[in-house]
Amino acid sequence: MKDKLKDFVHAHREEFDSFSPRPDLWQDISAELPAEPEPEQKEEPVKEARILPLNWNVAWRYAAAVAVLVMVAISGRYYGSGTWQRDPLLAAAQPVSLDKIAPEVKQIETRFVGVIEQKEAQLKEYDLKALGMEKEWEREATALDSAYAELKKELYTTPNKEVVVEAMRENLKMRIAILNRQLQVLENIQTVKQQVSNETKTL
């Protein structure tokens, strides 16, 4: 026999669970449960050690960038632990313009960005793809970019602006240093090539 009532109830099953226990019932339950065992129980599963290939030439730059970020974060927390609390809403909204908070950033940016753009333009003249250097440069540039963006965000909430601004300056300088290195490497390659072709000509 078909049970229309049953079909209806099944179709509306969720709506039948309309009661809720009092919100603090868990506290009562939890109080009566045996105490949690010591943390030895929660041993992390042993992870297999993996060795990642590391290019030391590149690694020091990341390490430096990370160290600066960590320093900024720690000092920010340290100085601010008493009176200042990081407000994520404030950080997200960024209601005040950067000029008001740190006018020196603009100066720094105008000073360095011109140089960086010029060097990047120089770099573009080389065929990086052919030399297999394109990927490497891209990766480093992105890492520095995101670190820079992070610092800029930090500016809005940090109580000690100077440290952050200094870190931003370092970031830009690092970028120029990397560009210089790249250009030098490329120049060396170029001269070697030229020498080779000169030699073949003179022969």
Binding site: D3, L5, S20, I29, P34, K42
Partner: protein
């Protein structure tokens, strides 16, 4: 043929609970407390008793978790505990769970097909369930809402399957007549 291994989605949380992890226990509580409370509310028809049942059931479940072998889901294992405790509550009120005699006349008099064309509403069904005598309410909610079949109902209530079936059919008629009364008195 491929054999399908039945795995509980909560298996890893349950394992952490077995080790006494309080956070994991709270996770399961959050997941099941509301539905289990409603199971008990329907059977006991009493807010305070339902809360007692909920508290006792979770304590019982966490303490006896080592006896849970995982041949069902944690949810249905817990539900069984809640249902058993709720039935005990109702019985301790010294009201017979199965009161066939009291309602026999009514059941026999009602002809098949009465109220069958009525338009159902969740609210009116809920209200009518609360008005059912204990014996009817338990069988009806176990069957209609908790998804128990008559074999399982017979087992938890200690009655025969045939009794469960006839109890359900009577409870169902009583429910529909209560709904009809509601509709008329409005």
């Amino acid at each position: 043929m491929e054999t399908l291994e039945y795995t509980d989605v909560n298996a890893h949380v349950v394992a952490r609970c077995k080790a006494g992890d309080r956070k994991a226990q709270y996770e399961l509580y959050k997941l099941y407390s509301k539905s289990m409370f409603n199971v008990s509310m329907r059977i006991t028809n009493d807010y305070t008793e339902a809360e007692d049942v909920l508290q006792e059931s979770f304590l019982n479940a966490f303490r006896e978790l080592h006896t849970f072998k995982g041949d069902s889901t944690f949810g249905s294992w817990l539900k069984r505990i809640v249902i058993n405790k709720s039935i005990t509550k109702v019985r301790s009120r010294r009201l017979q769970v199965v009161q066939i005699e009291d309602h026999q006349d009514f059941a026999e008099e009602t002809s098949e097909g009465d109220f069958e064309d009525m338009e159902y509403k969740v609210e009116s069904i809920k209200r009518a369930i609360q008005q059912l005598p204990d014996g009817y309410r338990v069988v009806l909610t176990l069957y209609l809402l908790e998804g128990y079949d008559h074999g399982e109902i017979a087992e938890v209530l200690g009655i025969s399957e045939a009794t469960s079936k006839s109890q359900y059919s009577r409870a169902r008629k009583k429910l529909l007549s209560l709904m009809e009364e509601q509709a008329l008195s409005r």
